[in-house]
Symmetry: none
Subunit: 221 residues, 4 copies
Amino acid sequence: MLQKSSVREHGQNGSGKRPPGRPRSEQARLAILRSTLEILGDSGFSDFTIEEVADRAGVGKATVYRWWPNKGALIADAFAQSTTRKLRFPDTGSVYTDMSRQMRQLVKIFAGPMGRIVSAILAAGQTEEELIAAFRERFLKPRRREAYATLRRAILRGELRRDVDQDLLLDSLYGPIYMRFLIRHDRMTPEFVDPLCALVLGGARPRDRRRRRRSNARLSK
Amino acid sequence: MLQKSSVREHGQNGSGKRPPGRPRSEQARLAILRSTLEILGDSGFSDFTIEEVADRAGVGKATVYRWWPNKGALIADAFAQSTTRKLRFPDTGSVYTDMSRQMRQLVKIFAGPMGRIVSAILAAGQTEEELIAAFRERFLKPRRREAYATLRRAILRGELRRDVDQDLLLDSLYGPIYMRFLIRHDRMTPEFVDPLCALVLGGARPRDRRRRRRSNARLSK
Amino acid sequence: MLQKSSVREHGQNGSGKRPPGRPRSEQARLAILRSTLEILGDSGFSDFTIEEVADRAGVGKATVYRWWPNKGALIADAFAQSTTRKLRFPDTGSVYTDMSRQMRQLVKIFAGPMGRIVSAILAAGQTEEELIAAFRERFLKPRRREAYATLRRAILRGELRRDVDQDLLLDSLYGPIYMRFLIRHDRMTPEFVDPLCALVLGGARPRDRRRRRRSNARLSK
Amino acid sequence: MLQKSSVREHGQNGSGKRPPGRPRSEQARLAILRSTLEILGDSGFSDFTIEEVADRAGVGKATVYRWWPNKGALIADAFAQSTTRKLRFPDTGSVYTDMSRQMRQLVKIFAGPMGRIVSAILAAGQTEEELIAAFRERFLKPRRREAYATLRRAILRGELRRDVDQDLLLDSLYGPIYMRFLIRHDRMTPEFVDPLCALVLGGARPRDRRRRRRSNARLSK
DNA sequence: CAATAATCGAGACGGTACGTCACGTCTTCTT
DNA sequence: AAGAAGACGTGACGTACCGTCTCGATTATTG
C-alpha cells in the first residue's frame, strides 16, 4: 500500500465501529487521483506539482499530504487506478505473430498519454525504489506471466529452443522498446517491432533442421 | 551540443583566431565538472544543487549557467567526460568477444557509483528533452560509432548478415541492459551479458548457403 | 494603498466574516516593520536588503514579498507607522502658531535619524512611481487632512482669506522645507520656520475692507 | 572635478609633454556622456546601468570604470555637459511678471527629458552629497544670482520690503515647484505658477501704503 | 623602426541580491 | 476529525549588474 496507513481510510476498524470525526472524503481522494493522471498526461512530470494537483482537484494541499507521503506514492496510486488498455497476447500458432502483435500494442500505448505516465513513474522510480517495484508488480508481471505461456506454446511447437532463458528472451524483445521509449525518443514507431522479433526470436530458434523436424514429428503424433 | 557557446569553447574557430574578450577559464570548467561528480557521489541527485556545485568549485553561479543550460547538461557532461576511456571496443577477431567485453564494462560502470548518475540523467531526462539529447550526443553516439566499426568488421568476417540493421542490432544488445538497469534493478550482473550476446548475435548470423559452405569447408578439412 | 491584499489585511470585510485560510501573522508584520527601521538606522539605504530584513525579522523572504511589492513600499510603510503620532497640529487659536509648531516638529524629524529614511524614500521614488504614491497616501495625505482643518479654523477666525487655495498655501509652507531638506542640505534649522510662516501666511491674509473694519473696531474700543 | 584625477586626461602635464602610451579616447568619453544622458532621458534612473551605458556608447565597461568612480560622478558629469535651456529673468518692471515668466520656463523644462535628468541627480544625490553639491553649484547658484538682481530691482521699486530675506523668499517660490516636481508628480502645470507668485510675493510686500508711497516718492526724485 | 606603455573593445570572472516558485507545515473557520 | 483555504519559514532557482580581470588590437612616445 502506498498511501499512509490508517485504520480510518476504510471506515472499518477492529471493533467494527467507525472512528469519531468526519470521515475521509472519497470524492476528494478520487479528484486527487484524477488530476494526478490529468497533469501527467497533459504536461508530463516536470509540471507535476502537489500544488497543481490540489488546485486542479479543488482540494487543500494538506489533504494531499495527509494521505500520500510524497509525489511518488501519489503517482503510483494514480497509475494503479488507471486502467491500462488491453495488452493480451493472441494465440495465432506462430510465436513471431503472437509477440509482434502484442508489442505493437505496447508501442502504441507508449506513444499516448499513458506513455507520459509510465515515463513519469520510471523517472520518479529512479529515486524511489518502491515506485519501480509497483510498476513491476502491477504492470510488468501480469503481462510477463502471459508471455511465459506464449513462449511455452512456441517451445512445444518447436519454434524455440527448449533451453531458452525466457526472461532473457523477453528482456531482449522489450528492452529495445523501453530503450527507444526512454532514451531515443525519436525512432519509436511500431514498424521496428517486426524486424526486432525476427532478429531476437531468430536467435532462439532450435539449432538445426533435424531437431526441428523431430519436434514437428512429435507434435503430429 | 551540450554546452552553450560553440565557438568560444574551443580555442580555434574558422578564421584561426581567438574571439575577442577574456577567454574561458579552463580551470573553472574543470573545477565545475569535478565538483559535479563529487556531489553526485556524496549526496545523490536530490541534493544536487547548482549553488552547491558553484560553491565547491569556488566559482560564481553565473559561470555555471553561462556554459551549461541546466543541471542535466552539466551532469551529462561530467559523466561523459569521466567514462569515455573505459568503454573502448576491443578487436579480438570475434564479434561475440568484442561486444561482450565492452558490454561487461558498461554493466560494471552501471553497477558502480556512476550508476546512480546515469539513472539520474535518464530520470531527469524524462522531464527535460534536452537532457536526454545531451546524453545521446555526448555519451551514446560516440560509443555507437565505435560499435558500427566493430559490426562492420564482423560482417566482413562473415560473422553477421550483410544486411543487418545495425541500429536495431545494437538496441537489441544494449536495450536489455538499460531495461534491467532502469526497471529491474535486481538481476544486473555481468554474467547475463554472454547469453545475451549469444542470443542476439545468433539471430544476426548469416543463415544461407555461405554459412553452409563455410561449415562444409570446415568439415572437409 | 501600500500593501497588496486589501481585504485580508483587516480582520473585517463586507460580510463581517473573516476570509478563509490562515490569517496573516500580525507578529510577522510587526517584526518586518521593526527590522526595516532598524536596518535603515544601522546601515542606511544602500545596504538595505529585503533578504536582510527577512533574516532579522526571522521571517521568510516570500512573506515580505507577499505583502509589500517592493523595497520602497516597505520603507514608506515603516516610516509612516513610526512618525504619525508626532506630527499632530495643535489648536492654539492662531494659525501662525498652529502651523509653526507642527512644521518645527517636521523639521526636527527630518534632522534626526528618520531624515535619511525620508530622503531614501523620495530618492527611490524618483525611480518607482508607486513609492512616491505610497509616501503621499500614507504620510502626506493624513497630515494634510489635519492641515485643512487647521486652515479652516483660521479662515473662520478671519486670519486667512476665504478664497485661499489651501493646497497651494500648504505647498508654499512645506515646499521650502522639502527643498532645503533635499537640495540645500545645509540651512535646515527650525529657526527658519517662523519667518517662513510669517511670509507665506502673510500673503494669505485678508486685505479688503473686513480687515480694515476689524482694525477699526479694535481702534474704536 | 568628478572624474578620476589624472594628468593624462588633458594631454598636458607639468613638463609640457604628453606621457607615453595610447592617449585617452575623446570619442569614447563623449559617447559615454551622451549615452548617459540618453538613458536618463529615455528611461530614467532605474534602467541606468553602467553596462547599458557602455553598450549604448559602444565602449568597454572597463573604460567607463577607468574614468568615473561611480554612477553618481558619471551622472553629474553628463549633467554638467548638458546645456540647460535658457532660464533668464526678464526685466519687465514688475517683480511678479519677472518671476512668473522664469518660473513657468522652469516648470516646462522639468516636464521634459531634462526633468528626468534632474530628478535622477537629486535622487542619486541623496546618497552622494557631492552630486547635490554639483547641482547646487552648476544649476541653482547661477540662476539664484540672477534672481537676487531681480529682487533687488523690485525692492528699489518698492514692490518688496527692504528687509526681506531673499533666500527665504526664493525658497518659498521655488520650493513648491520642486515639491510638486519630486513628490506630487501630478499637479505640475505652469498654471499654478501665477497664484504661487501672488501668494508669496504678496507676503513680502511693504506693509502699508504710506511706506510704499515713500519709496515711489524717492524713485521719482 | 623596434620597444615600451597605456588605452581600447570585448567579454568571462567571483560575487550578491533579486523576485519567484514549490516545498511541507501551520492555523484558521466550516462541515 | 477532516475538509478548503491560504499564510508561513525555507531554500534553490535562474537573472541581472556589480566591479575586476584578462585577452588581442590599437595608438602613441621613446630609444
